[in-house]
Symmetry: C2
Subunit: 165 residues, 2 copies
DNA sequence: TGCATTTCGTTCATAGTTGTACAATTCTGT
DNA sequence: ACAGAATTGTACAACTATGAACGAAATGCA
């Protein structure tokens, strides 16, 4: 029973991944704290950031990019709209979808929030040289690709649709 | 307004940190899915793993290690105790604290759960060479140290206690 | 000893997240 | 054109997480 204990922490991959998860959690918590004065939470900022990149995106696609469920968007977006940060305009080509846009006020807040986030990230990533910073980012992007591919395969074997092929 | 957009994503630190956060999120989600057959959730596994390292730890110290609030432990631990995975024994030296221990059943489940987690981590970390894996882990540990130090300083300036010095 | 302060765990109200079921709309294949 | 399937956003219930207030126990300091 004790071998398991040793085994886990002697495994470099395990040890180093745990370090990644812990750092992530701490940075997220710090971000939440520093965003509080703007009355924003990390999910709101994620939405704003993605909206700057993809004006007119649908709720579904946004949820997909953020790796959360659609219902999550239904909870968050209306309250951001009431706050005047975003607009949800119906798409007349497909009347099911709502296309999302940042308002001027939303962009102004985005600027301040992103400044906070960027400063925090600059601080935490400054523990690594630019070269190591790229190594880390590259590894994480490969990891993300791997996980998304995994999910896709899992979906294909579980659903009935693809079995036709 | 558009300069901000470019500015963010041209900043290597920003871009690479976002990759870290996304990978983390995906791995967490995958872990949750693979743990479902054992009827465990990531927080439970975190508790179990830390309990293997630190038999007899208090709820408070455990919460501190896991970077969550004490009330979180109060929510999770009793239900794990009822399930027979852990025991909470009062400390007769200090009758406020409850010392935590894994039961035999808890250890058995831990073994299976850790096998699942290790396999997943091995898979995702296999996108990096052992050398890069260490670079990543070292960076994240420095980052964690930086954040904890930051918090400590923040606490010291806010509380009254340390002002005596 | 006595009293203020701190620490540990709990309680509870609040807020955030998820999955499922649903109505409206669009797409597909005949 | 039309029936069946898929997609979009919503509603809701169940679950999870968090922070503040609390009581009990311990500690520090006169």
């Amino acid at each position: 029973m004790n071998e398991m204990q040793v085994q886990m922490w002697d495994n470099p991959r395990f040890r180093n991944w745990v370090a990644v998860a812990r750092a992530c959690q701490l940075v997220q918590q710090a971000l939440a704290r520093e965003l509080k004065p703007l009355d924003l939470k990390p999910p709101h900022l994620d939405i704003i950031v993605n909206l700057m990149r993809s004006e007119g995106i649908s709720q579904q696609d946004l949820a997909h990019k953020l790796l959360v469920g659609r219902s999550n968007m239904t909870m968050l977006l209306p309250q951001m709209e009431e706050r005047g940060l975003i607009e949800r305009r119906p798409d007349q080509a497909d009347r099911r979808v709502l296309r999302l846009h940042l308002t001027a006020q939303g962009k102004a807040l985005a600027k301040r929030a992103i400044a906070i986030q960027s400063d925090l990230i600059d601080e935490v990533m400054s523990v690594s040289s630019p070269e190591h910073c790229e190594i880390i980012g590259d590894a994480m992007r490969r990891m993300t690709a791997l996980m998304l591919e995994r999910d896709k395969i899992g979906m294909a074997t579980r659903t009935r649709k693809e079995q036709k092929a």
